[in-house]
Subunit: 148 residues, 2 copies
């Protein structure tokens, strides 16, 4: 067994599957003018409006170098607004616009569509999901609110 053989790598399938799934999101996200990372930010905001950039970064594992331009794009698209926390002017507070809030209704069907495209039944979905959550736990992926 050659450890340097591509087929013996653990990371490569993560890398390949991640890219593949993101590609399959595109047909559903493009009509909403969203990329996959932008969609993730919107998921966070639909769960909890009025969050700091830092908090979004904590949940999605993205730093300000990635989020600053991404947030700028979402503001241009018209889905979010930014203000500063008056208590602590260092903090950027992100909130949904009316359009951003309304978008949730349109996005509601995406998870079901993606499951169709992936062709996994509920059992398979749960099996993979549980294993991923377990591994994320083992890797101690830092998260703010128990998300992984």
């Amino acid at each position: 067994m050659n450890p340097l053989h591509l087929s013996n790598q653990l990371c490569f399938p993560f890398y390949a599957i991640s890219k593949e799934i993101i590609k399959r999101y595109r047909p559903f996200l493009a009509p909403l003018n969203l990329t996959y990372p932008q969609y993730l930010v919107m998921l966070v905001l639909w769960e909890e409006d009025l969050v700091t950039l830092k908090s979004i970064g904590g949940r999605l594992q993205l730093d300000s170098g990635t989020l600053t331009p991404l947030v700028k794009k979402l503001i241009q698209t018209g889905y979010i607004e930014k203000t500063r926390n008056t208590e602590d002017e260092r903090q950027l507070v992100i909130r949904l616009t009316e359009r951003g809030r309304n978008l949730e209704e349109e996005a509601k069907e995406i998870p079901a569509r993606i499951n169709e495209v992936l062709g996994l039944n509920k059992e398979e979905y749960n099996k993979y999901k549980d294993m991923l959550d377990e591994l994320a736990g083992k890797l101690e992926i830092k998260r703010e609110d128990g998300y992984c």
Copy 2:
């Protein structure tokens, strides 16, 4: 159960875990002047020297838009060379340089080091690996030579 909740997404853990593992490769790859995608190209070449760009792309799921600049970088670093296939001038043939071949010896220890950093025992490693290969199969991730 809210399907739009971040914790109910199947793709997000793939995306997060993939990024996390790649980050953990960095301390081992940086001394070799390699990024993770560059390392993947070297893995392909250590398995089989003299391969076309197309073939590398098939195995790694990367297109010419990604590989052309990446190959340029590896040439600058001195690990590979490119020539054209005289039978078919469209095809770029990539080969290792002496330095690129010698690098394999240095890289041999990386998989073991990564396993240490990930903190997974052989059982866990195999469990995750099998499941990933299974899912890659279900998603019909196109590969050229049975790699996934």
